[in-house]
C-alpha cells in the first residue's frame, strides 16, 4: 500500500535503529506526546530495537485518557434525558465515569450513537428537528477544527436542536507542566504530528527555547518514529535544543490557517481539568458565548459537577512519563481493558492499554 508501506519497511527501520545505537553515548529519556505514537511504538515493538540507554516514556496525548470524570458523568446525564440523541466517537463509550459509562447508558435505554464525524451528528440534527442532538466533542487540537466547524454550521443553519459537549485540550500547556515539574525526567520530545498539522510548530519553538529541550515533530508510522528518535538523540548528543520537523509530508511551519481560524471563531482558551492530572491553566478550549445556543453545558444547564477520584491508579504518573504502565501494582491484575481502573487502560491509544495489548509479559 503506497504512502504507508514505505514507513513500515523493516530494513529502513533497522537501519535507523542502528544509527541511533551508533550516535548514542549517554543515557537519554524521550517522551512521545501522542497516544497514536504510543500505540505504534508498542505494536511494532520499537523499544526492543533501540539501545538500552535510550528510554521512551509515554506522554499525555490520548484525548480519551485525559477527559475528566465529571465530563463523562455529564455526558451520561445528558444522554439519559428524554428526547436526546447523544452522539460520540466510538472509543469514548467505554470510558468509565465515576460509576458508569456510555455503553451502560445505552443499554439502559439512552439513544447513544457512534458517529465518525461531527458532521454526521449535524446530519442527524437536520433529519430529526424534534430531537435534541448532542455531540461529544473530545480531542486535542487535531479534532477541534472539525468540531468547531459543526458548531459554526449549526449556527449558520439555525439548527437549534444541535449542541456540543466540548472537552478540548491543548498540547503545549501539558508539555509545559511536565517540563516545570521538579521530578521531570524527559529530555526530549517527539512532538504531536497531527496537532502540528493544524497548529504549526511555533508554540513548540517557544517551549524548546524556554526549557532548552529538543522537540522533533514526528509522524505515526514506525519509520517516522525511529527517524524522530534519531533526530532527537543527535540534538541531545550535540547539545542542541531546536524544533525540527520529521513529519514534513504533513506539517508546515504555520500549520493550517483556515482550520485555526474556525477554531478561534468558535472556541476560546480556558483553564481545563485533566483526568488524573488536575487543572492546567489555559489548557483547554470552551465554546464562545456567541455560540452558546450550541453549547451543551449551557443548553442543559447541568452546572459544575465535582467528583472525587478514587486512588489506586497511577494514571497521572503514567501520563507524565514518570512511571511505565507495568510499574503499576494494579496493571494486568485489578486493572485490565475489561476492568479499567483508569482511562489509559480504555482507549487503544492509552499507554496502559497499548502495553496490555502488546507487551504485558515484558
Amino acid at each position: 500500500m503506497r504512502f504507508v508501506d514505505e514507513y513500515r519497511d523493516p530494513q529502513i527501520a533497522h537501519a535507523l535503529a542502528e544509527k541511533v545505537g551508533r550516535i548514542t553515548t549517554k543515557p537519554w529519556v524521550l517522551m512521545e506526546v501522542c497516544g497514536g505514537q504510543t500505540h505504534t511504538l508498542m505494536r511494532y515493538g520499537i523499544g526492543d530495537l533501540l539501545p538500552k540507554n535510550v528510554g521512551l516514556v509515554h506522554g499525555p496525548g490520548c484525548p480519551v485518557c485525559v477527559t475528566p470524570l465529571e465530563l463523562i458523568d455529564q455526558a451520561i446525564r445528558i444522554a439519559g434525558l428524554p428526547n436526546v440523541v447523544f452522539t460520540s466517537y466510538g472509543d469514548m463509550l467505554r470510558v468509565p465515569g465515576s460509576h458508569s459509562d456510555l455503553f451502560a447508558a445505552k443499554a439502559a435505554g439512552a439513544d447513544v450513537r457512534i458517529v465518525y464525524s461531527p458532521l454526521d451528528a449535524l446530519k442527524i440534527a437536520r433529519e430529526h428537528p424534534e430531537r435534541q442532538v448532542v455531540f461529544f466533542g473530545v480531542g486535542f487540537e487535531t479534532t477541534a477544527p472539525a468540531n468547531a466547524m459543526a458548531v459554526w454550521h449549526a449556527r449558520r443553519e439555525g439548527l437549534t436542536n444541535f449542541s456540543m459537549l466540548a472537552s478540548h485540550v491543548l498540547v503545549p500547556p501539558a508539555m509545559r507542566l511536565i517540563l516545570q515539574s521538579p521530578v521531570n525526567r524527559v529530555q526530549g520530545f517527539i512532538g504531536p504530528g497531527h496537532v502540528c498539522t493544524i497548529m504549526g510548530t511555533e508554540e513548540y519553538r517557544q517551549l524548546a527555547e524556554e526549557f532548552h529541550v529538543p522537540i522533533v515533530v514526528g509522524g505515526f508510522e514506525p519509520v517516522d518514529l525511529l527517524e524522530a528518535i534519531s533526530m532527537l538523540v543527535a540534538q541531545l548528543e550535540e547539545g542542541r535544543a531546536e524544533v525540527e520537523n520529521q513529519y514534513s509530508r504533513s506539517v508546515e511551519l504555520l500549520g493550517n490557517p483556515a482550520a485555526m481560524k474556525v477554531m478561534r471563531d468558535v472556541f476560546e482558551v480556558a483553564d481545563r481539568k485533566w483526568r488524573g492530572i488536575g487543572e492546567i491553566p489555559r489548557s483547554g478550549l470552551v465554546i464562545r458565548e456567541e455560540f452558546g445556543a450550541h453549547d451543551a453545558e449551557r443548553v442543559f444547564g447541568l452546572g459544575p459537577l465535582s467528583v472525587e477520584e478514587p486512588r489506586e491508579c497511577i494514571s497521572a504518573l503514567v501520563l507524565q512519563g514518570l512511571k511505565k504502565p507495568i510499574e503499576c501494582e494494579a496493571f494486568g491484575k485489578r486493572c485490565t481493558p475489561m476492568t479499567p481502573l483508569g482511562a489509559p487502560m480504555v482507549s487503544s491509544e492509552g499507554a496502559c492499554a497499548a502495553w496490555h495489548q502488546y507487551k504485558r509479559y515484558a
Binding site: 500500500m1 504507508v4 513500515r8 523493516p10 527501520a13 497514536g36 508498542m42 505494536r43 515493538g45 520499537i46 526492543d48 530495537l49 484525548p63 480519551v64 470524570l69 466517537y89 466510538g90 472509543d91 463509550l93 467505554r94 465515569g97 455503553f103 451502560a104 445505552k106 443499554a107 457512534i114 458517529v115 473530545v138 486535542f140 479534532t143 516545570q180 515539574s181 521530578v183 497531527h194 514506525p222 488524573g276 488536575g278 487543572e279 492546567i280 477520584e309 478514587p310 486512588r311 491508579c313 497511577i314 494514571s315 497521572a316 514518570l322 486493572c335 481493558p337 475489561m338 476492568t339 479499567p340 481502573l341 483508569g342 482507549s347 487503544s348 491509544e349 495489548q357 502488546y358 507487551k359
Partner: protein, 353 residues
Amino acid sequence: MPEVINNPAVFSCPAPIQERDRVVLGHGSGGRLSARLLRDIFLPLFSNPVLDRLEDQAVVEIGGSRLAFTTDTFVVKPLFFPGGNIGSLAVHGTVNDLAMGGATPLYLSAGFIIEEGFPLETLEQLAASMGEAAREAGVTIVTGDTKVVERGKGDGVFINTTGIGVVPPGVCLSASKARPGDLVILSGTIGDHGTAIMASREGLEFETTIVSDSAALHHLVADMLGVSYNIRCLRDPTRGGLSSTLNEIAEQSKVSIEIEEKRIPVRDEVRGACELLGLDPLYVANEGKLVAIVAPEAADDILDAMRRNARGEDAAIIGVVGADRAGMVTMRTAFGSTRIVDLLPGDQLPRIC
C-alpha cells in the same frame, strides 16, 4: 501548578466498572464479554459433556451415526452488502459451523423474526438468496418458522438457521486438540467480510471494491480430509476475527500460538479501509475462511489440497503451536519484534484520531 506534580501521592483514578448488570453491545462481539456471558450465565445452567466442549457444533451419536448439530442467528446490518445478504449469510454461516466439525452438512431449518412493515419484496429476495445458497451448498431447508414483531421491536429481519450433518467415521476435530509443534494454516485473506459491511454501513459511505467473502466451506474441508485425517481442529474466524479464533484454540488446548505477521494474507483494499477506520484486520470478521491446526508432517499435503480449491487458493501456513505461556497468542511482527495478539474486551471501537 496542580498539587499532583509535587506530590504524586494524591494521584487518583476512576473506579472500575467491574461487573455489568445489563447486556451491552460488547456482549455480542465475540470477545471477552461474549465469553463471560457463556461462562457466567449459560454454561453453569446448561452444563453437559457435549456443550462443555465449546465447539462450533455439537457432535452427538444417534443410532450408530455421529451427527453434527449447530445453530446460529444472523442480525447483520445492512441486510444487503457487497458479496451477499443476510439470507445467503445465514446459510453459509451454519453450513460452515457444521463443516468445521468435519461434517457433511445435510439439512437446515430457517426461522425468521420479521418486523411489522417489512417489505414483502425484500423478504422474497432474501428467501431467494437463501434457496440459492442452500442449493449451491447441497443442503436442504426442511423446516422453518416465522414470527412478526411490532414495528420498532425488530430491525427489519433477523434469521436463525439450525443445521444437521453427518461426521465421517474417524474424523474427530476439536479446539482442544492442538499440541506443540502443530502448524497453523489459514485458508485465505482476512477481514474481507467485516470491512465490506463497515464500508456499506450508513454514515461511512466511502467507496471501495471490497466484497464479503461469505461462502460455504464444506467442500474445501472435504478436500482437506481427503488427503489427511491429521487435522486437529478447524475453526472459521467469524466475529472477533482471526485473533479471537486463535485465542479460543490456545485456551482450549492449553498451548501457545505464534503467528507471523508477514505470512497473513490481507488484501490491499482491506488494509486501506482498516487504516482509515483505525481497525486491525486481525479482529475483523470473515465468513468464508477457516483456520486449521494440523500435524506438521501432514501440513504440505493439506496445503496443496487447499490451494487446488478456489476457496483456499491463498492458503498459507501462518504460525506454529508452542508449549510455554499456555493460552497466549503472539505475533512476530514484520520488524522481528514480538507482540501479544489479545482478545478484545468488546467490539473494536473506531478511534478519535
